[in-house]
C-alpha cells in the first residue's frame, strides 16, 4: 500500500468518524434524562394510592416528554414501598444504589416517608412528597424533603374549625389508625376542637390489622349522641368503619345523627363502595373536577383521553409532582443539588391541585384548593364551598 493510499484511507476514516460524531452529538443531547425515582405503595393496604399515582405520573410524563424540557426527558423508575417503613427503606436503598435518581417522589404514608427521609438526605437527593401529612416530615425542617400537600395541622385545624362553626358540632369521637399520620391528625383535631369549646367523647386508635369494626361502632354507639366522627384511615379500613357505624345506627346512613369527617386519604369512588353508609360523609380533597381553572380542565381532558375514565383526586397529586419537577428543570436544574435548590426557589407554580411555594421548612404554603365534599343520598357528592 502506497503512502498516498494510506493517507487517503486515514483521511476517509477520520471523515467518517467526524461525521458519526456530528450525527451522534444532537442525538446524545436529546438523550439527556432526569431520573425520577418513585417510591409508591404498589402492594398492601395503601396500594390504591400507588395504582392511581402511577396513572397520574404516566400522563404527566407523556405530556412533558412530548417536547422535552430544556433538552431533557424525564424518566421514572417505580419501586414498591408498601406504605410501611421497612419495605420503604429497602426500596429507597435499591433505588439510590442501583438507579441513582436525580429526584425522588413519594411516599404516600407518613411512616414510610419518615423512614426514607434520612436516606435521601444522606444521598443528597431531593424528595418531593404529595401524600404524607405528618408534621414531623417538614418540622423542624429537612433541606432535602419538600411537601406539596397540606400537612396535618393545615388539614386538622381547618376540619375542626368547620366542624365547630359550620356544622355546629359540640361532641366528637376520634377514630384513627395508630400511625404517625393517624395519631397526628387526630391530635390536631382534638386540640383545635376542644380549644373552640367542643368535647371529645372518645379517642380510639387501632392497628392496621383490625378487620372487624363492629365492636368499635358498638362502643361509640354507647357514648350517647355524637355530632362528628373524624376518621383517619386508609380506604379499606375506612370502608369497614363507615359500614359498621351505619349498622350500629350511629351515622346518617343508619338513621343516626353523627357525621363522619374524612381527610385527603380516601379516593373518589369510596362512596360507591361504602353504599348508603357513606350518606352525609364530609371530607376534604385537593381536586374538584368542577373547578373551571384551565389547568384543571386540561388535566381532566387529557386524563379522559388517555385512560377513558374520570380522574380521582389522587391522580392530580401525582401529576403535579412531575409537572413541578419539569418546572424546576425548565428553570435550569439538571442534577440533585440544582433540583433541590430549584424546588426551594419555587414561586407561584400553578398546578392542578393548586399553587406551590415552599417556606423555610419546605412545606408548601400556597395551597389554595382544599375542597370539602359531602356525600348525597344518591352517593354522588357536592362541593360545600367552605373555602
Amino acid at each position: 500500500m502506497t503512502l498516498r493510499l494510506r493517507v487517503r484511507r486515514l483521511a476517509a476514516g477520520m471523515l467518517t468518524a467526524t461525521a458519526v460524531a456530528v450525527i451522534a452529538t444532537p442525538l446524545h443531547a436529546e438523550d439527556k434524562t432526569i431520573k425520577v425515582g418513585a417510591l409508591l405503595p404498589i402492594s398492601g393496604p395503601g396500594s390504591y394510592f400507588g395504582v392511581q399515582d402511577k396513572q397520574g405520573i404516566e400522563l404527566a410524563l407523556e405530556l412533558v416528554n412530548k417536547a422535552g424540557v430544556n433538552g431533557y426527558k424525564l424518566e421514572v423508575k417505580y419501586e414498591d414501598s408498601s406504605c410501611s417503613p421497612l419495605p420503604a427503606t429497602q426500596a429507597a436503598k435499591r433505588l439510590l444504589e442501583q438507579y441513582k435518581p436525580d429526584v425522588v417522589i413519594g411516599e404516600e404514608c407518613s411512616d414510610a416517608t419518615l423512614a426514607i427521609m434520612p436516606l435521601m438526605a444522606e444521598a443528597k437527593v431531593p424528595l418531593l412528597n404529595a401524600g404524607s401529612s405528618s408534621i414531623k416530615i417538614t418540622e423542624p425542617g429537612n433541606p432535602w424533603t419538600f411537601r406539596i400537600m397540606p400537612n396535618e395541622v393545615m388539614q386538622g385545624v381547618d376540619i375542626a374549625t368547620n366542624a365547630y362553626k359550620r356544622l355546629n358540632a359540640r361532641t366528637a369521637v376520634l377514630l384513627y389508625e395508630n400511625t404517625n399520620a393517624g395519631i397526628g391528625n387526630a391530635k390536631v383535631f382534638n386540640d383545635t376542637f376542644t380549644k373552640l369549646g367542643g368535647k371529645i367523647l372518645a379517642d380510639i386508635g387501632f392497628g392496621r390489622d383490625v378487620n372487624d369494626f363492629t365492636a368499635i361502632a358498638t362502643r361509640l354507639a354507647g357514648l350517647g349522641p355524637v355530632d362528628v366522627i373524624p376518621t383517619y384511615t386508609l380506604e379499606g379500613q375506612g370502608l369497614k368503619i363507615t359500614q359498621a357505624l351505619m349498622q350500629a345506627g350511629v351515622t346518617k346512613g343508619g338513621d343516626g345523627h353523627a357525621i363522619q369527617l374524612g381527610t385527603i386519604w380516601l379516593p373518589f369512588g369510596f362512596e360507591q363502595k361504602a353504599g348508603k353508609a357513606a350518606l352525609g360523609y364530609i371530607r376534604i380533597v385537593q381536586f374538584d373536577p368542577t373547578d373551571q381553572r384551565p389547568a384543571v380542565r386540561d388535566f381532566i381532558a387529557a386524563f379522559k383521553a388517555k385512560y377513558n375514565q374520570d380522574p380521582t383526586h389522587l391522580h392530580p397529586d401525582a401529576y403535579d409532582q412531575i409537572t413541578l419537577i419539569a418546572d424546576v428543570i425548565k428553570r435550569g436544574a439538571k442534577d440533585p443539588q440544582s433540583i433541590r435548590d430549584g424546588l426551594a426557589a419555587t414561586r407561584d407554580f400553578s398546578g392542578v391541585t393548586g399553587s406551590a411555594e415552599f417556606d423555610k421548612t419546605n412545606q408548601n404554603v400556597k395551597m389554595d384548593t382544599v375542597h370539602y365534599m359531602e356525600t348525597l343520598p344518591d352517593l354522588s357528592w357536592k362541593a360545600l364551598g367552605w373555602n
Partner: protein, 292 residues
Amino acid sequence: MTVVLQQGINGVVLGSLYVLVALGLTLIYGVLVQINFAHADIVTLGAFSAYFFMHGLGGGYIPSIAVALAVGGALGWLMNAAIFAPLRRQGNELLPLIATIGVSVMLENAMLAWFGPVPYAFDSPLSNDVIRFAGTFITLQNVLIIAVSVATIALLYAFMKFTFLGKALRAVSQDRETAGLMGIDPDRLVMLTFVIASALAGMAGAMLGPVLVLTPFAGTSVIVKAFAIVIIGGFGNVEGTILAGLMVGLIESYTTQYLGPGMIDIVVFALLLVMLAVRPTGLIAEKREENV
C-alpha cells in the same frame, strides 16, 4: 347493660369466624401433626372465589359460599396430591411442613398477579339488613355467620362420631400404623382431611370476605389469631378450638369496649403465653391421640 350484651353478640360473631378458620388448621394438625402455613391463602382464595362468582358470574351470595367451599376442597386435594403426599412418602416430616410455606408464598404471589393489590369491596347483600332488638343490633350477615358456624360444627361432629370415615379418621389420628393394619388406607384419609380442612377454609373465606379488607394478603390478617386459637384450644383438639375461638372473639370485643382496640393483641397473646406456661395441653386437656 345493652353495651355489654351487644359486645357479647359481636364477640360470638367474631369468634364464630375464627372457629371456621381455625377448625381446618386443627384438623390437619390432629391427623398429621403438621402445621399448614398455606391455610391462610386458601381462606383468601375462598373469599376471591365467592367475590368473582358474585361479581363476575352474577351469582348470589349464599351459592357463592358453596362455590368457595368447593374451590377450597379442590385446592386441598390438589395440594396434597401434587406436593404434600409425595413429600410425606419420602419419610421426612419436615419436608411437607416447609412445602406449606412454599405453597403459601406461591399462592399469595399468584393472587397478587391475578387480582392485583388494590382492596376489593366485597359486600354481602345481607350486611345492610340490620335487625334491631332491645337496644341491640345484628346484621343478617352476622346471623348467617353464626348459623353456618353452628351447622359446620354440628356436621363435623356428626361426621366424626357417627360415620365410618369419621371413625377411620380418628383411628388414623390415634395410630396411623395400627389403623393401616386394620385395613384403613391412611393416605386416603389424609387426603380426606386435607379436602375437608381446605373446604372449611374456603367457606370461611366466603364468610370473612365481607368482613375483611379483601386483598391477596387478607387471610394472613386472621391466620395469626387462628394459630393462637389452635394453641389455646390445645393443638389438634376440635372442642378446644371451638371454645378458644369463641373466647378470643369475646375477649376482642370486650377489650375494645373497656381497654381500647390497641390492647387486643396484647391481651390475646398474653393469654396465649399464660396458656403455654400454665396449661400447655390447651383448654381441653386430652391426649393428642384422641383429639380428632
